[in-house]
Symmetry: D2
Subunit: 210 residues, 4 copies
């Protein structure tokens, strides 16, 4: 069975319908922190092109004056607030409070008034007040960029859908350490939870919002 067959099979089963972007988007930048960006980190993911794409989208979002939200991951010493997830992934030690691997990159970091959500789990919605914040701002659409596609990006996109927001996952602005999980997760997201869209489509969308 070829890849085309898989898409055809899903279409026949009525997956992959189109979601229409709303009028009040926000932008989220998931976990663009040094652990994934610094070549000396064990988590270094080689995602420079996603980083650059996200930078261009961030500029457009600021120009359009839509809400911008950054996430990072921060644990207490010992990781009790990471529960089962912290026990599962040794790599999460990089995010214990004070570790510079958890810092934002100086070239992609929050400006005054932009929200930072410090999360403990994969989804930016889980165990955070993100959904409440977006609802209180009457946001209806979430533009999703970040790292990594098979982890926090997917979990965030699935939860965006579940919470009632239209998730727009920007293909060029999400990245992973390996192309196979990256592609497999974009396939699932487009089939079941989100619109996977191009950077150029998002830039055009933001131009029309502003």
């Amino acid at each position: 069975m070829t890849e085309k067959d898989l898409t055809a099979d899903y279409a026949a089963a009525q997956f992959g319908g189109a979601l229409h972007p709303g009028q009040r988007p926000a932008l989220i930048l998931v976990d663009f922190v040094m652990a994934y960006l610094d070549p000396k980190s064990p988590l270094y993911a080689g995602v420079e092109s996603a980083f650059e794409s996200a930078g261009r989208i961030l500029s457009a979002a600021r120009k359009a004056e839509i809400p911008v939200i950054f996430t990072n991951v921060v644990y207490t010493e010992g990781g009790k607030d990471g529960g089962v997830f912290f026990r599962k992934i040794g790599a999460l030690q990089a995010f214990v409070k004070g570790n510079p691997m958890g810092d934002f990159s100086p070239s992609l970091e929050p400006e005054g008034g932009e929200l930072v959500i410090s999360k403990h789990y994969a989804s930016a919605f889980f165990g955070t007040s993100l959904a409440s914040t977006l609802t209180a701002m009457t946001v209806d659409t979430l533009i999703i960029t970040g790292l990594s596609t098979s982890g926090c990006v997917r979990a965030t996109a699935v939860d965006a859908c579940q919470h009632g927001f239209i998730p727009l996952v920007v293909r060029e602005a999400v990245g992973d350490r390996d192309p196979r999980p990256h592609d497999a997760n974009l396939f699932d997201l487009q089939a079941k939870y989100a619109e996977v869209v191009s950077e150029s489509r998002i830039l055009a969308y933001l131009e029309n919002i502003s």
Copy 2:
């Protein structure tokens, strides 16, 4: 890069650590409903062997007298309670209240006292009181079987981890309409959120619980 390389790469990055099953498990059977099981349904998934494996695990769970939870999906006419998810997936029409495609199979259905969670989204935890129920019963471990691996099973396993339960995903007892998303999602689950275990290991575990 071969599959072995991918596993090695993840191990070097410290993913895929082992989670140890607890003393108080519950079993969940995710969405074993006619829509996936009836060959005439557009959602028919050819997952007979997962269905049979889940049946064997259910018998062992009943013998061990651990809590057993079934899920299904039920929407109001029009699907307003399915929100964005219902808009995305045309196939969810099969689960509007009254459609026999949403029924459990007669050979795998709840007995007196076993809980049925009717959910609206992919995760059995999302928008339901499942986490509260498990916590109130002091469950610490969730044995996960069901359909489909790339959808509701993964979402449920990720949320089990996020909610503080040890997720044990039974390889033979979860199924999908295509082996590629099935395998890709089991890879992600083992790397980041859950223990993917064999049916025989679960049967031995349940024998020791009882």
Copy 3:
């Protein structure tokens, strides 16, 4: 210290600010079921006037064509899905599936397309997909009526605020078995979480929405 002093003291501490109703309200009717309405029920609460007020608001909401949501409470035999709450309150036995005390009153019940949320806990948001449904419909304001003020109404109003919706609690359309908890809870709600408003103000608001 008189009641007036209490209000003055709270105002000095900067509680009780005004929330402004939004443009996209929904109406919720919390637990208007026979257990509270039937004089033979141990839970009978003598809340006929709240029931009648809610009926008038429901008519106006239907005329304005805003979303209408009814809640009830339904437990599995044995109440496992009620967790700690079911253990605490013996009276919740009235809501085990099949007990007619859990039925809606024939003179205040859902019509085609109006949503019914079956909940297990006090808050209509807790363990349900209500927040997601409202967000997916881009609702920004929740008009709250129902029973009882000190229980499910308060819990629902607090959660509406926490989830990012403007809660408008209609004074005449919420009721309790005793005026003291009723008054005390309306005081807290107005001080910290919601606008407690009159029926006439809501009727005027709905007239302007339609």
Copy 4:
């Protein structure tokens, strides 16, 4: 109708059943911050005796080596992450990041390894990973102390019950700026959601846990 009548009326309606403390408690100290403790603060609540009682319970909890959790409230400049709640209560300005009114008192503050939950809403569970943390530690019971009874304490106790934990609210260790909302909320909590217990009973309980 006298207060005694109210209790009798509730008992006849089968409210106020007893919840039995479990084997694995944690202690939470809700919002013991300078805003309520400093006589110069507009939120100063005159709750010295609750503060002292909580101090005694904290010592006993540390001796018993049970998990200890402190909460505070922290908002971004402008309060976007406080949503509707921040708009409602002007007093919450005291908790914008950097304001010393949000600091813990030096005589009741976290020691190494004790968890701090920074919340945005009344309930310590809402928009935080508290429930997950407690579940991952297999906690079954939550000893609740803090400020204020009619606000964050009640919301936290209701949510503890809803999440599946036995809430033990310590009468002497919770406080409010006025005795009337304090008493009214303890009445509701005992009737519907929690065990309201004495400090001496909690100290004896903790002695037996250790």
